[in-house]
Symmetry: C2
Subunit: 283 residues, 2 copies
């Protein structure tokens, strides 16, 4: 077996990358944590003791045992072929992108000199950036891994990485990348578009400007604060499943619109309550 | 001028009615607070010191200076003609129903022996019932009043009631009942149906059962926990504006579905962010 991971390079030290660094340290990782990010982010990450040192992409790729790609999705895709000539053959490259198929395809085509294992931590906060990073962000949350074959989870580096994920408090789940993308289209991308569409529908209308609204409006537009800088890449790399989810959601709304009488709507509210309870872990 | 309100009767001592009672007391009301509710609710309300005494509808209607109707909407509508032969002519009857046109019409037709002033406190919680009542529920929230004419706000009892609303920390707004219903169709009823439709769409599907979801799904299905026992009356008494709001929302979603490319979606996310910031009081 290879020696344990001595150095981790975080590419993109934002909310996720910064939180992963803090979580590793809290879980007892004693090696070096290298940050690869913009100069301003590196400055803040050093101030906040999120990373030990900064490096260029090439320096980090040449020295790290574990390369953690937590940039926006299209930057991850762009980065993979740049890494290939630089990485150590015994290194593991992983990522934290919110969609997996496009990244997995690109990695298969361009990153040949070391193992790549796709990942998606199902954690987030409204706030972005390294300032919002926290060591407990992943605690109790699912952390999806998308190996191409089950054997890819059994390499020494992959087992060590999965051990660290468990040590930081997350729950590992292995999924096929396309299956992952189809699931998150419904469980993550659809909720985002539902909130964005609600807020976009109300923007410029007179009703919200009247001031007559309660906490429900604030709550249901919280996700609409999300930036297109993140979501543009998600939409671009998962269009098919997202359009399927939109179609199914619109069908439900059209059913409402066909008649909001009790006979039709009570069962809809009951189905909705059942789902809302089930995602809260209650019956 | 009449003497100040000495006794308040709360009809329906649930979250809103119970909170109004607690808020009045906290704000310095020293008169009697009478509860009219089911025996179980009265028992809990007495235990929790939310009300001073219980009474039958007739007893309360005959003795109270202020009658506060906080039952479900259809029960309020049913109750108004029952009150008419009983009320003291100097009393004020008000209500806390979430839709106003149907209640105002019914009051105009059936409650002739004293003043009626419609109201809608824009406050709420996930939890229902007198156990969830709290004195600060209305603090900082809009409290809409729907007089038929501006003069209805200037009667001694109406001015005294509006003073109490301000003393409990709420912000009074006067609106035409139909205008109120049109506004809340967009700012309150649409957000509810958006969440109910999302949860109903996902119920029974395999994706949420995979466990691959983050806090966004939990957040965006919180409103879907709401009971049809409340919402059935709202849908039944505001169908026109609600169907208009559904139509406009579906149009936005169809626009998304026509193409989720950046040229179309970036402006939608920017509009949504603007609205989400504006309802939070930030620019």
């Amino acid at each position: 077996m290879d020696s344990p991971v001595q150095s981790v390079a975080i590419f993109g030290v934002g909310l996720i990358g910064g939180s992963f660094a803090l979580a590793l340290r809290k879980a007892g990782f004693s090696g070096q944590i290298i940050g690869v990010s913009s100069p301003e982010t590196i400055h803040r990450a050093r101030e906040l003791n999120v990373i030990d040192v900064s490096a260029t992409l090439a320096e980090a790729a040449e020295s790290a045992d574990l390369i953690y790609l937590s940039q926006p999705i299209l930057r991850i895709i762009e980065c993979l072929p740049e890494l290939d000539p630089l990485v150590r053959p015994e290194a593991l490259v992983t990522d934290a992108g919110s969609t997996k198929s496009a990244i997995m395809e690109r990695a298969a085509a361009t990153l040949k000199r070391c193992q790549f294992l796709g990942g998606h931590p199902m954690a987030g906060r409204e706030r972005r950036g390294v300032e919002a990073a926290e060591a407990d962000l992943f605690r109790g949350r699912p952390y999806v891994l998308t190996p191409r074959t089950p054997a890819e989870l059994e390499t020494p580096r992959a087992r060590e990485f999965a051990d660290w994920i468990r040590k930081i408090g997350a729950v590992t789940l292995a999924f096929d990348a396309q299956e992952h993308d189809r699931v998150v289209a419904y469980t993550s991308h659809l909720p985002q578009l539902v909130a964005t569409a609600l807020a976009a529908t109300l923007d410029g209308r007179p009703e919200p400007q009247s001031g007559i609204f309660g906490p429900a409006l604030t709550d249901s537009t919280r996700l609409a604060l999300s930036s297109f800088d993140i979501w543009g890449d998600i939409l671009a790399t998962n269009p098919g499943p997202i359009l399927d989810a939109l179609r199914d959601y619109i069908a439900t709304l059209e059913d409402f619109r066909a008649g909001i009488d009790p006979d039709r709507m009570r069962p809809q509210f009951e189905r909705a309550q059942r789902l809302a309870n089930s995602v809260r872990g209650s019956s």
